[in-house]
Symmetry: C2
Subunit: 481 residues, 2 copies
């Protein structure tokens, strides 16, 4: 069973704001600049766990972490012409230092392809040094003119993990694209976030890329959110920056590059997608605490003392077994008030300890995801807690995939597709011949955004919804964040 998901799905935007603020994840809308929020201590811990997870996956696959300057000179940013066109409208510019006008305007990095390629040009001379895989985790800035939303559409994206790689050949770069997709799959699997992977259509690629592959997920309200992208950059940036290497055959040539990123939206999705009307349910893999311990007051002071001693004993057993835990001692709150706040913080397991538990040498466990409770003997505590944590992790993943899959429909009729989206949002897949003009027409007629087409081959025994030619694949459409 699970708690109701009325508020969560019907009024998601309000639910999300409430969770971020009251759960003390992220203070948004009160810092005096639009589109910029503050990571509070509890949210920061969640963010840190998510970052550590992606770091682990990248380090294991030979990626090296670096840190580049925030600022990029305007002339450097202008080197790749498609790139600057894509970002020009939304760059924040530094124009003054103290009272002086700067000689050249400096951009707050919107992304770092040109800055990193500039240095790669100094560092990499030969195919022998390849492949090279760098990444950094930094703030990037976009002067968004659309309505901003906490963690989802920001002017300062504070958790931008951007990877940048260099390869000798086009094919090597394509293999890197595949590796990146595998890494992101693992990452989202570990936080239980379901995804659809699409190649973005030609008219919606990253500015400067040959191919863009995107991970999308469906949020509680049915809108689709892009949560990761992988770009094959070809030689666009290496040519623009005149970055050449010596190849295996002795010739000098421009290397091939890829870049791929995930952002604060990964954290937004992990808070949102597993939620219910009491708040988020954080997967044990990234929850700041796996267990919260709450003392149940007894009738006598003597009994209370024993409760607290026993609580402390249980806490120490958990910590010794690497199960991050916290005791909520606050004497000014009732247990009920504590349940409320820790549900709102999404901690996956609650342990309640009162006189009954002390006298029977047991522990009362309550699961956040399905509200099941267990009475567990003290000496079975760790085995049971680990079982339950695994079960929660798996249950969250499973129900999130079920939720998402229930929102993906197929229709071979453009009007029906439009109606489905209007009524229930989600993703609709429509048969498509593969021509850009038909794709753009689909977008226009359904008033949606085209996500793209599946990266794997897809046999479709149907006709393109526009031109009625034989369909080559499906095109996915949705209302997006």
């Amino acid at each position: 069973m699970q708690l109701t998901r009325e508020k969560w799905s019907k009024n998601f935007s309000e639910w999300f704001d409430w969770v971020l603020r009251e759960g003390e994840f992220y203070d948004y809308g009160r810092y005096p600049i639009k589109g910029m929020g503050v990571w509070m201590p509890y949210g920061f811990k969640l963010r840190q766990n998510v970052i550590n997870l992606i770091r682990k996956l990248l380090d294991l696959t030979g990626h090296e972490e670096v840190l580049f300057p925030l600022l990029i000179p305007e002339d450097l940013l202008r080197r790749e012409s498609t790139h600057i066109k894509g970002f020009e409208g939304e760059v924040f510019w530094v124009t003054k230092g103290g009272d002086e006008d700067l000689d050249i305007r400096l951009a707050l990095r919107p992304t770092s392809e040109v800055a990193i390629t500039w240095m790669e040009n100094l560092w990499i001379k030969s195919y022998k040094q390849l492949p090279k895989k760098y990444y950094q985790i930094v703030s990037v800035f976009r002067y968004e003119t659309k309505a901003t939303r906490p963690m989802i559409r920001l002017r300062e994206i504070t958790t931008f993990k951007e990877a940048h790689t260099v390869h000798e050949t086009y094919e090597d770069a394509q293999k890197q694209v595949e590796e990146a997709i595998e890494i992101y799959k693992k990452f989202f699997d570990e936080i239980g976030i379901p995804y659809v992977i699409s190649e973005r259509p030609e008219w919606d690629r990253f500015a400067g890329a040959l191919h863009t592959y995107a991970f999308d997920t469906i949020m509680p309200d049915g809108r689709v959110m892009q949560i990761g992208t992988v770009h094959h950059l070809g030689q666009n940036f290496s040519k623009a920056l005149d970055f050449k290497i010596q190849k295996r055959d002795g010739s000098l040539d421009y290397p091939h590059q890829t870049s791929y990123g995930i952002s604060d939206r990964a954290i937004a999705s992990v808070i949102s997608i597993h939620g219910d009307d009491h708040g988020p349910v954080l997967p044990p893999s990234v929850s700041p605490y796996k267990v919260v311990l709450i003392p149940i007051p007894a009738k006598s002071e003597d009994e209370n003392k024993r409760v607290l001693e026993y609580l402390q004993e249980i806490y120490e057993i958990l910590i010794k077994n690497n199960i991050s835990s916290i005791i909520d001692y606050d004497p000014e709150k009732t247990p009920g008030e504590k349940y409320y706040i820790w549900e709102l913080k999404g901690v996956p397991i609650r342990i309640e300890i009162g006189p009954r538990e002390v006298s029977s040498n047991t522990v009362f466990i309550k699961r956040r995801d399905n509200l099941e409770s267990y009475k567990v003997k003290k000496d079975e505590l760790i085995i049971r807690i680990n079982e339950i944590l695994n079960d929660i992790q798996e249950n969250l993943r499973k129900r999130a995939w079920e939720f998402m899959n229930s929102k993906i429909k197929y229709s071979n009729d453009i009007n029906e597709a439009k109606k489905i989206i209007e009524k229930e949002l989600g993703i609709v897949e429509v048969p498509w011949c593969g021509k850009n003009e038909c794709g753009l027409k689909i977008e226009e007629l359904t008033d949606t955004r085209v996500l793209g087409y599946p990266i794997e081959e897809r046999r479709v025994n149907d006709k393109c919804v526009i031109c009625k030619m034989n369909a080559k694949t499906v095109l996915r459409i949705a209302k997006t964040y």
Copy 2:
């Protein structure tokens, strides 16, 4: 014994640039903006270890990590008038978003007192929530007009750990100052960096502070570098932002604050101070690798195979025992070339393995700090390695303190003091009556910077070098970075 320190001390600036670039710590002077450098993978690992150390110390003492926006609106930055006067000349200003002029200029944070106090005003209502201790690790920006130097004087300081605390009373804040000083002592002790703690004179306090306490160290060339500061802010910022709390007695009043910071300079000092003419010697507590393993080529392919197998076996023993290690397999470099580069990277222990070690089941160990070598049996490897690492750590600390102490002199004659500094740099302590006008005169007459006076009481049976009244304490003077 140690390697010569000619280049290190006589030509420090050149030595430092050489180490950063060739040791692949930090690429400076080639990114196309003055005063901004790039953390390369090896340097990034060192930086990360230093950050983890300070994080550990702060977390253990109840500090909570947060993350605030980079940008601060001009009107907010102007709220505390002394503060803005101190920073005004060196603020980078964002004035444009895309093609639009912004309504209000946005500062790249030079430091975050006002931004954090703004949010504390929303978060903290009562003495019951106090003390509150926040910190963040971020980039801060200063439009330096002086000559910039890698890690030491930057326009983007990329590793600014700033802590900000809130207290009910002045005394509570003073106690926090003492806690901060203790934390920083532990931190610098763990990386073996010696320090002198001084209260900065009134004319050299942090802009907006009542008191500033600073950690200074002496660099290889004898110049003094500030490596940490702790500020008692009193009610200056809480008043400027109208931030009031309910006190224990029921009244509403402005809380008292402190802030304290360390920066990239901590990393600059750990690279510099333990060095010699072959490069830095990194303390095991923060070195990216504690051990580098180098295979010594044998005569036959068969033997080479056995060397590599044995090397791998030793490597795995080290890793299993949590001793971070790396094998340098590079077939294109001779052992000698590898020694050179890993000395330049400062790895504290080198292990060489050739046919002799294979046949005798031993390991050849070379210490980076004093060049001693040991032949160790395989089954004693871990015990010996740990002993040697501890010994290196202690030896570095000891010799660094000896070096610094040898550079601190006392003089009760202003001309002599001036001459000492001119000849050998370092710190000179001169007796002082305690009056500002005499302090300023000392600075002027010696053409130095006053660091301040000891935080502990210091009995001085001498006369002030300027006014000849009885000295109350000593004033420390130096040429500084």
